[in-house]
């Protein structure tokens, strides 16, 4: 009986809407805009977030940078040489840390490169250890990695990237070619993948890069600013890893308890956290705006339902005379309000989806991750249904309370 009543009510409500198409459309405009705003906000936020997190993960979410730092209060006690990360400290970290799975010393410098008659100055040379490839996700695509012998014997071997091959015009892939770095002869033993660096982290254009074994770097320059790049076993252990690194380094440097750290570090997870909290604040602001638009839409629904109740007073009287209980009348008008809202929701979703497709087509990189997730669809339907119930309640109660005699006498 209830099911039948509901189906009939729904069909009747749809019929009412169809009979007043223009009015229904205008009425639901508020809800259309509200739902459109919800989905657009969620999709845009999701798209932006997807874009940013994508950038972060390109960069490596488990990555940790560790470098020496000279706090202001220790300026007269320590030199930069004192605070830079030393090979011994890196070894301590490698041996004692539970959370760091890979670790590489790094040092870079700009040199002048010559191959045959071609000279290029200001090329970046980085001294690395074999773990570096895994940490940076830049494997050797051709040739070989550095070996321990390369490092211990300070062999003059190097890895290059494809841009360097192109710029120096090393024919036939470059492996085995001899190039001169600051007039020292190095043999190219492999080609490293060029990673697309995101615009956020200063990449974007590929540059010539040359890598040499870390200890070989000392042949190119006496004083090197050395630091460490490492990777944690997972982004979840960021806090623990941070504490552990501090403990190991403070111990290795035998820092007095009242001294601040003479090193600093940066984890990608911090950036992700910062971004997430920022996105949360933005989301709250958007939610407030969306609620306001739904509120306005809901008031529109309430208004039109009140008009509908007074227009159809005689019908209500008739239904009551035919034996409709007050609750049934209430449900009827509530269902009509909810259906109006849901119709608005559907239109809003369709408009939102259409615009989303357009944005994906033309919005460039920022929006290519934008999409309306399933939960957002459910959410907007829930909201519009809720708005229907909330704002339809008063008119429905009004209808249910009508005195049948008065209602049938109504002109």
């Amino acid at each position: 009986m209830i099911v039948r009543l509901l189906t009939q009510t729904v069909f009747f409500a749809l019929g009412q809407m169809w009979a007043n198409k223009v009015r229904a459309l205008l009425t639901t405009l508020g809800i259309v805009i509200g739902v459109f705003a919800i989905t657009a906000t969620i999709a845009a936020a999701g798209g932006l977030k997807g874009f940013v997190l994508d950038e972060f993960s390109k960069f490596g979410a488990t990555k940790v940078f560790i470098w020496g730092n000279r706090p202001d209060e220790l300026r007269d006690k320590l030199s930069w040489t004192d605070v830079k990360i030393k090979t011994r400290e890196a070894r301590d970290l490698r041996e004692h840390s539970q959370y760091l799975t890979r670790l590489s010393m790094v040092a870079s410098h700009r040199v002048t490169v010559r191959y045959q008659d071609r000279v290029k100055s200001g090329v970046s040379v980085t001294g690395i250890e074999p773990d570096w490839h895994e940490i940076e996700q830049r494997l050797v695509q051709d040739g070989r990695q550095f070996t321990e012998t390369d490092d211990s014997e300070q062999l003059q071997v190097c890895l290059i990237n494809e841009m360097a091959i192109e710029e120096l015009r090393l024919d036939g892939g470059g492996i085995g070619k001899k190039i001169f770095l600051n007039n020292r002869r190095f043999v190219v033993v492999g080609v490293v993948e060029t990673k697309e660096m995101s615009a956020m982290f200063g990449g974007g254009e590929a540059r010539s890069e040359i890598f040499v074994p870390f200890s070989t770097m000392y042949k190119l320059r006496d004083w090197l600013w050395t630091s460490v790049v490492a990777s944690m076993e997972s982004p979840e252990v960021a806090e623990e890893a941070k504490a552990e690194i501090r403990f190991i380094l403070r111990k290795a440097r035998q820092l007095p308890a009242d001294w601040p750290d003479t090193f600093d570090m940066f984890q990608m997870t911090q950036a992700v956290d910062n971004f997430n909290s920022m996105a949360g604040v933005m989301g709250m602001a958007a939610a407030v705006l969306v609620s306001i638009s739904l509120l306005v839409g809901g008031v529109g629904i309430m208004n039109i339902m009140l008009v509908s109740v007074s227009e159809r007073t005689r019908e209500i009287g008739l239904r009551k005379a035919l034996g409709a209980r007050p609750a049934v009348i209430l449900v009827q008008f509530l269902v009509e309000a909810v259906i109006l809202c849901l119709a608005g929701g559907v239109i809003g979703l369709v408009v939102g989806q259409a615009l989303m497709v357009l944005a994906q087509g033309s919005g460039g990189k920022l929006m290519e991750n934008a999409e309306i997730p399933m939960w957002a669809i459910v959410l907007s339907f829930g909201f519009s249904g809720g708005v229907g119930v909330f704002f339809g309640m008063w008119p429905a109660v009004k209808a249910a309370r009508l005195d049948p005699i008065e209602a049938l006498r109504h002109e």
Binding site: M1, R4, L5, Q8, G15, A19, R314, E315, G317, L318, R319, K320, A321, L322, G323, A324, R325, P326, A327, V328, P404, I405, L408
Partner: protein, 296 residues
């Protein structure tokens, strides 16, 4: 409409009542209660400081299968009485028993059910939903009843056939004449097999020919055993009824036709029987009431 009756087999009281109407009525001597039993009913409105006594002690019995016209000038209380009989309103004081059920203690929900099951309304201005077909309009009454879902279409169709609109099932009110619209309304009133048909100026919006047609239909229904109560101010329409109740100032002025009333021929044929039977019924019933009240 036989199958509809099967549908209502769950309602024992109804079935009994209907059986009684068929077997008993004027012919058998079976003991029966009046279908409408109004005892000393008052309806008092307060309009600001003024107290309006719309009904001032009305006592009225209507037997099964009577065709009663209620007449009176405006303000006589006939509309109030109609609303009361239709369970759209409750009396301020007094007892109203419909089909053996006391309605004066019922809540809004129960009254709604009584309206649905026991009463068929016919209004002056038809009150059809303009956008729905005749069939849907008739089904509206079944929507609020406890009848089976799948039966409702067939029952509505049969009700329309019964009032002679079997070929207008799919028409909307604006495609029909006034008389046809009123027939749809009558079909809607009858589809739940009500104990009484309450008609409020059923011919008020119709020309006299069509009005006479509708009265003809009422006669047919009456022949089939339907109890009909009709409010009208047209003397010749009231003349179709067997019994005319005139109200004045909230009181029953006269019951049964007066000399000057245009009495329908049908009434003359039956009045002797009815009067005799009514006398018997009153005695029995009053005995029963007294016994009841003594017990209380």
């Amino acid at each position: 409409m036989g199958s509809v009756e099967e549908n209502s087999s769950g309602r024992g009281a109804r079935q009994d009542g209907r059986g009684g109407a068929r077997e008993g009525g004027r012919v058998g001597g079976r003991k029966k209660r009046p279908i409408i039993r109004v005892r000393n009913v008052h309806k008092i409105y307060k309009m600001g400081t003024e107290v309006v006594r719309a009904l001032d002690g009305v006592t009225l019995d209507i037997q099964r299968n009577e065709f009663v016209a209620v007449m009176g000038s405006s303000g006589s209380g006939k509309s109030t009485l109609m609303n009361l009989l239709g369970c759209l309103d409750r009396a301020s004081k007094g007892v109203y028993e419909l089909n053996g059920k006391r309605t004066d203690k019922m809540g809004a929900g129960e009254l709604a059910r009584i309206r649905n099951e026991e009463i068929g309304f016919v209004f002056q201005s038809f009150e059809l939903l303009p956008r729905e077909t005749a069939l849907k309009n008739v089904q509206l009454a079944l929507l609020y009843s406890r009848q089976r879902f799948w039966g409702s279409r067939g029952a509505a169709r049969r009700a329309l056939q019964h009032v002679g609109l079997g070929d207008r099932v799919g028409h909307r009110p604006n495609q029909m004449s006034g008389g046809q619209r009123q027939r749809v309304a009558i079909a809607r009133a009858l589809v739940n097999r009500p104990s009484i048909l309450l008609a409020d100026e059923p011919t008020g919006n119709l020309d006299s020919t069509t009005g006479a047609e509708i009265m003809g239909l009422f006669h047919e229904l009456h022949e089939d055993g339907q109890t009909i109560v009709m409010v009208t101010h047209e003397e010749d329409i009231a003349g179709h009824a067997d019994r005319i109740v005139r109200l004045c100032d909230g009181k029953v002025e006269t019951d049964y036709p007066r000399d000057e009333d245009p009495i329908h021929i049908d009434y003359i044929k039956r009045s002797v029987d009815m009067a005799r039977e009514r006398a018997a019924a009153h005695v029995e019933h009053d005995d029963a009431v007294e016994a009841e009240e003594a017990a209380r």
